[in-house]
Amino acid sequence: MDGSEAKKYVWEGAIPLQIHLHESEVTTLPAPPPALVLGPRNGYLPLLIPLIKPHFSSTLPPGLDTVWFDYKGLPLKWYIPTGVLFDLLCAEPERPWNLTVHFRAYPSETLSPYEGEDSVKWSFINSLKEAAYIMNGNCKCVMNMSQPDQLMLWQSVVKGDLECYTRIFSRLKFGTIGEGRIPVRLYLRIVSEKLNDLEDLPPISSWDEIRYINRPVELQKYGVCSLRDALESLLPELFMPKSSMRDLRMREKESGGGPSGIKSALGPDDFEVIKNTGDEAEQTHNIASTEVDSVESSCLKLIRIQGIEPNLDLPFSWAANHLKNPEHILHICLYILNNESQI
């Protein structure tokens, strides 16, 4: 799959959704059937409201609309792209994905306020600014966008129009992903070691169960080149064989050091061992590979980017360039085994 095909694949990706109205808001009998909508991966759930509301408007109780969604009771963060929510929360992909929509009782203590499409648009633009700052050291290219360009860029995201998006984006002089800092957002879901099947995973009941890390990957500093290298630069102990982890923790306790004691606790030979356990994997660039390297030995159970479980040897800059979301950020979902040494 070449570059332009990959981008098209990503932009055309969509999640079939089955949206149910929350029972407390059903005022008619029989209850309305769920709405079936296709949610673009690169889009955001609130953008689907114009498609969903007509299904339910006749049955809603009187009052002002304050729309929000939940999945098995978990209020969904509207500023996280739909595809990322699906990859993270739906361990075993559910097709269609069953969500509940609410038009009342917005959980304002947990969710940032949603004030219509503008909220989503500006969240997108602020993320784009952040990505520009990470890559260029300033957000001038976004700040200097003309109003019409800004509007068109946003509309291209809303409509899933890759051609229009590419045309406007190329005018931005955003900078290319080659070296320097690359915007990444990691979503870590800690799973129990005893689980054999993703289907058996209990659903997330609170966002406190997800560890979110918004941190750029720095290319020159660590000589990063593969996806595995990039992940390791953000989570240094991720690929350590579990036995090494136990040894490390024991040595830390003995030497009285904390995580910063890693360098002194490990000798140069230890690093060789750790690196070699990953090299057993096939050296291919097949992004649709379902194999995850070092599953048995390390804590990483699953990695999902744009619904794909990529080969960890994939060149990181390729992944960042072709699998990123329109706001120029690469969102990575990781399912990680709970190791008693990790809190």
């Binding site: 963060k77 203590e109 306020p113 503008d118 602020n126 918004n214 941190r215 750029p216 995580p259």
Partner: protein, 235 residues
């Protein structure tokens, strides 16, 4: 600590920690009647993910004072001496109306490499304030600016550690104005002082935006050169 990058207005995570310690110390030295800033360690990240900043600054339970009175005092109606005597960090309890109280956090942003202010307002009973209630509490000049740039100036975002929405001052312009602020000191202080002065300088600007006035002598306490006068008159 000598700053690695004093001239571009940004901070490394370790410099942030150092600057935070300096702010906490100077705040206490100025004997402000406000609570002291405290350092809250970040929750430990899994798999050795480094978080060199290691934590963030917190100032909590600050009662909101009446901004309008403050505006009148500072802008027009009183002499300099009377203004100084106010030492604006005061909490003028409104008496008849309910007073709101605020929590402030200064958190390091790895994306922007600068500190970011997060704040949240509450009713006396602990219930969070709504957006329009917070906007009424802001200084007039800020709420005017908010009208013009609703989405890019002060926004409600998810707190980096607490999984709930807090107000925040958008950090995209911070490094630029910090660079200008620090340049004034660059030629008159030792490089080591720049880092310890960073958050003091930053706060003296940012605090004003939201109406949390630093103790007037916070800046005087921390500078020993005449550039402090220029600095004050600019802010």
């Amino acid at each position: 600590m000598k700053m690695a990058s004093p001239c571009d207005g940004t901070l490394s995570p370790t410099e942030f920690k150092f600057a935070a310690e300096a702010l906490m110390k100077k705040w206490e030295e100025c004997k402000s009647i406000l609570h002291p800033w405290i350092w809250i360690p970040c929750p430990k990240l899994p798999f050795g993910a480094p978080d060199k900043a290691g934590g963030y600054l917190s100032l909590e339970h600050i009662h909101h004072f009446e901004f309008k009175k403050q505006q009148d005092c500072i802008e027009q109606k009183y002499s300099e001496e009377e203004v100084e005597a106010l030492d604006s960090a005061t909490l003028v309890l409104s008496g008849e109306n309910e007073t709101h109280y605020y929590n402030f956090h200064i958190i390091y942003s790895t994306s922007y490499k600068v500190p970011v202010l997060f704040f949240r307002g509450y009713h006396q009973g602990g219930q969070p304030l709504k957006c329009d209630e917070v906007e009424k509490d802001l200084p007039l000049y800020t709420s005017k600016l908010l009208e013009e740039s609703k989405w890019t100036f002060i926004t409600q975002e998810e707190h980096p550690y607490l999984n709930c929405p807090w107000f925040t001052l958008h950090p995209c312009g911070t490094s630029e104005w910090m660079r200008l602020l620090l340049q004034q000191r660059l030629y008159s202080s030792r490089p080591e002082d720049l880092c310890s002065h960073y958050l003091v300088a930053w706060f003296s600007v940012v605090g004003q935006v939201i109406g949390l006035w630093a103790p007037l002598n916070l800046v005087h306490c921390s500078s020993s050169s005449s550039s402090s006068d220029t600095f004050c008159s600019h802010t």
